[in-house]
């Protein structure tokens, strides 16, 4: 199967360019699943990664939610961490320096509860050495707007991304929520606001109930569903987004191995992120990268050529 293309494999067949940056391979870690990066050094080769996307950063340190914060679900997990993080300043001072000798890109994932929050975080990261790009997590409720989620309302998404665009010269990746009727509308909103790339999907909102106690298992009632369970939805959304997008896409959702990652690339993603899989195998992302390399060699086709190469009947 898969007749190998006869033509010559281009040089650096794994390399991809997104938002003006070159990545040695298309495999990044997903925010919130890889800590601040250095935690994984004992278990994997950080330099094997195309990029490290760190835990979402806010203006001030955040405590996060009470426990239980996680619960396993069929082929997946729910989390309600509550975006616990050390805050942007401590990240810059203490966490980022740990990665200074690691030859890969570091992407800072950021969020806020108001547009001002977002802008200020972006501003503080601007021109910080060692930060290659910002990924904007818009799956947060806008507290000023009565909790409406930035990521499910195209106007709010446009406003927050436009504002950040003005606060930083760093390349911007807008990370979309899957909890929407039409992902293309969100793609358009982010593009209109000047994003350089789009990543998707964030978690699907889910809930697990302890029927013996008749209570939600998570202290916050609902949480975000990740893992292989959501992969078919994620691949579909990346494919739909690819029909509309002008900027490059970064696909994720349930990637456990190279085969899974290739689904996203073929559907239209220029790169992928590995999330929950890193909990099960801290070397998962590096293994995905080497598996893609094997595929690329076997098929004689570069990742750039594979992107969006899906053939419909």
């Amino acid at each position: 199967m898969g007749t190998p293309l006869k033509k010559k494999l281009p040089k650096k067949p794994l390399e991809v360019a997104i938002a003006g940056l070159k990545f040695k391979n298309p495999v990044m870690t997903a925010s919130g699943t890889f800590g601040y990066g250095a935690e994984f050094a004992p278990y994997t080769g950080l330099e094997k990664l195309g990029a490290i996307v760190v835990k979402g950063l806010s203006l001030y340190p955040r405590q996060g939610n009470p426990g239980p914060r996680i619960v396993e679900t069929p082929c997946g997990m729910l989390n309600a961490i509550g975006l616990q993080n050390v805050g942007v300043d401590e990240f810059i001072e203490k966490k980022l320096p740990l990665l200074k000798d690691v030859k890969t890109h570091v992407i800072a994932n950021i969020f806020g509860e108001t547009i001002d929050d977002y802008m200020e975080v972006a501003r503080r990261l601007d021109r910080v050495k060692g930060v290659s790009a910002l990924e904007i997590n818009i799956s947060c409720p806008n507290v000023k707007k009565g909790g409406i989620v930035f990521g499910t309302d195209p106007q709010e998404a446009f406003r927050v991304v436009s504002a950040i665009r003005k606060s930083t010269s760093l390349p911007l990746i807008t990370k979309l929520s899957p909890n929407v009727t039409d992902i293309k509308v969100m793609v358009k909103a982010a593009e209109d606001a000047g994003t350089d790339a789009i990543s998707l999907i964030n978690t699907l909102t889910g809930m697990v109930i302890d029927v013996e106690r008749r209570r939600p298992v998570l202290a916050t009632a609902t949480g975000g569903l990740s893992g292989p369970a959501i992969r078919p939805v994620a691949v579909r959304m990346v494919w739909q987004a690819a029909q509309a997008a002008k900027v490059p896409l970064i696909g994720m959702g349930g990637i456990m191995n190279a085969r899974d990652a290739l689904e996203f690339i073929i559907a239209g993603a220029a790169a992928v992120q590995v999330g929950t899989a890193s909990f099960i195998d801290p070397d998962a992302a590096a293994k995905v990268a080497s598996g893609i390399e094997e595929y690329v060699q076997r098929h004689g086709v570069s990742v750039r050529e594979l992107t969006g190469s899906l053939k419909l009947a």
Partner: protein, 264 residues
């Protein structure tokens, strides 16, 4: 810390629903209170690894001749442990560890009292092995639920039991036993059901005795990155004095007085 495949040396049924698992593992040094995360299925369901305390180190200096590595002890409670109980010697499991902070060694001259119940006994064995002497207080509903006591006795540990139905030792809760053991030179190590840990902690706090508890929480990563296994702790010095610590990486052992028991 490492993430490797490990061969099963043995997986013996101890009693209905209780198993002893020997894993071949050229392990780094294991401290009492350390745990490991095991990958129990090749499939995606169950998805997450499961945490288990290290019962003892086997081989080299140990008594077992079946191989070098670690021995775990587990109870079958759900899907993952059911799958585990069906595994046979020779099969392999993904193992990640050793993880956690482990029990701090007792200061010289301190009288060590261990308090436990159920599977909480697991991490205390390794602690006991490395103690010159000590006392183990075991709380259970009935005699049937007490176990491993002979193993501790062989180590020269004094054993006292409390059962709710009086079928072994004194009748009542283990805290009644503990009360009698507490003096200013005591240090308490406790691992067991959360209700027991809370009661033990309170008792020690009131008596001004240092008390270390080993906590359990559902875990995804085991290495402090998912932030899933949070417990709220109290920092007695700071003004903003409540914050979350991770059971897997800041713990599983905490000073009993630092745990915010309200939220557990």
């Amino acid at each position: 810390m490492q993430s490797v495949e490990s061969k099963i040396l043995y997986n013996d049924r101890l009693a209905e629903g209780y198993f002893r698992l020997g894993l071949s593992w050229k392990t780094p040094e294991v401290k009492a209170g350390h745990f490991v995360m095991l990958r129990l299925s090749d499939g995606m369901d169950p998805l997450l690894r499961r945490p288990f305390g290290v019962f003892r180190v086997i081989g080299a200096k140990g008594k077992s001749t079946r191989g070098t590595g670690i021995e775990l002890l587990y109870r079958v409670v759900g899907r993952g442990t059911t799958i585990l109980s069906a595994k046979r010697p020779g099969e392999s499991l993904g193992i990640l560890g050793p993880l956690g902070n482990g029990f701090p060694a007792p200061q010289k001259g301190r009288k060590v009292v261990m308090v436990t119940g159920g599977m909480g006994i697991v991490p205390l064995y390794l602690l006991a092995q490395r103690l010159p002497e000590g006392t183990l207080l075991f709380g259970a509903r009935s005699k049937k639920e007490t176990f491993l006591l002979d193993e501790f006795r062989e180590l020269g540990i004094k054993i006292k039991t409390a059962t709710e139905d009086g079928s072994a030792g004194v009748k009542g809760f283990v805290t009644a036993l503990l009360e009698k053991e507490l003096s200013t030179d005591t240090v308490v190590y406790a691992c067991g059901p959360v209700g027991m840990l809370k009661a033990v902690s309170r008792l020690c706090l009131d008596a001004g005795v240092q008390c270390f508890v080993s906590l359990e929480r559902s875990m995804a990563c085991g290495i402090g990155v998912c932030l899933g296994c949070a417990v709220r702790t109290i920092n007695h010095e700071a003004r903003e004095n409540r914050n979350y610590k991770m059971v897997c990486s800041d713990g599983p052992v905490f000073d009993g007085k630092d745990v915010d028991w309200e939220l557990l």
